[in-house]
Symmetry: C2
DNA sequence: CTAGAAGCGTCCGTTTTCGGACACTGCATG
DNA sequence: CATGCAGTGTCCGAAAACGGACGCTTCTAG
């Protein structure tokens, strides 16, 4: 249950503050001042906190969005939380559309940062777990969910899953449900 | 793409402020000052913003957590964002464990609130879409994902899915992939 | 009480799927 | 060049899944 975070920002003070806020018995934190070779740095992490503006004075967030896209394409399950000082809603929306897990404005509240990163890490774990599932396990879960959603009504559950009722019975038995 | 929000707080000023922040061409907002009959009020919403403390002076957040549990059990797909003034990390963690989608501290930043609620609404939509999927469609997606993850290597993809290779071929053909 | 509707669990002849095996291709290594 | 490893696509007898139909139990309404 211990999470591994990576923080990327060109300002050492920001890195120090964020690392302090996130460090704890349940979290390992590493930092980087540049997004160079970020795929390798991010390997094995549960979440990445990424600054949007690296070039001094840059405010468009383009740099961060580029790194976001690059990292997401290398490892789609990994949650990436973006942070910026110059946060407009439109920029945030664009970031979320590109796959960012969350969006934090500097200066942040430590509570909020910790919550966001914890949620992000949990999302990563969940996606990784799902990605490794066997077809049988996926089917079992879907069936269990449908059965729950229909309140135990076999006919409705079968229809919901696109099965005939006998087929649902067979699968229930096969999965031991 | 227009979202419907419900805001529940006993303070009318808070309701007004939150409604103003969230209103827009893409969002319909309704408010309530009490969580009574919340299941009915929440029907058809994409996300609910819920205060944690209703009794005057109450700070434990117990009230909000109770309503959260009640609402979650009635409609598990619905995203619920909790808000409180007296936010400790432990309370936030507890809330998230009980199924809250996010956790906002009062006073909030309008940007952050809008982002949080938009993300929550998207999460609701995604879960609802998934809940209605047929077994065939679920299988098709899982296969497509595995094939992508293995870089097109049939043997690896089959192993990942817990299938024999011929079985994977049959399913590919059946799904037209 | 009775008719109808809705749901349940099972049967069985037909259809589909299963997976081990086989032959083939590409490709790196000695 | 030869060897071996990894991957691909297909075949076929055995095995499993398919789904329409049947008889049964509730439950609701007239």
């Amino acid at each position: 249950m211990a999470f591994a975070f990576l923080i990327v920002d060109d300002d050492p003070d920001v890195l120090k503050a964020a690392a302090l806020a996130l460090s704890g018995p349940l979290a390992r934190v590493d930092v980087a001042t540049s997004p160079d070779g970020i795929e390798a740095l991010a390997a094995g992490r549960d979440a990445v906190l990424l600054d949007m503006n690296f070039a001094l004075g840059a405010r468009s967030g383009e740099a961060g969005l580029g790194v976001l896209a690059q990292l997401k394409s290398a490892e789609p399950e990994l949650a990436i939380v973006l942070m910026t000082t110059f946060g407009g809603v439109s920029l945030a929306v664009e970031a979320l559309k590109k796959g960012a897990e969350d969006f934090i404005l500097k200066p942040w509240r430590n509570d909020a940062l910790e919550i966001a990163m914890t949620k992000a890490a949990q999302a990563t774990r969940a996606r990784r777990a799902e990605a490794g599932l066997t077809l049988d396990e996926i089917e079992r879960r879907a069936i269990a969910r449908a059965l729950l959603a229909s309140g135990g009504n076999m006919t409705k559950a079968a229809a919901m899953l696109g099965l005939t009722r006998p087929a649902l019975y067979r699968r229930l038995e096969r999965h031991g449900l």
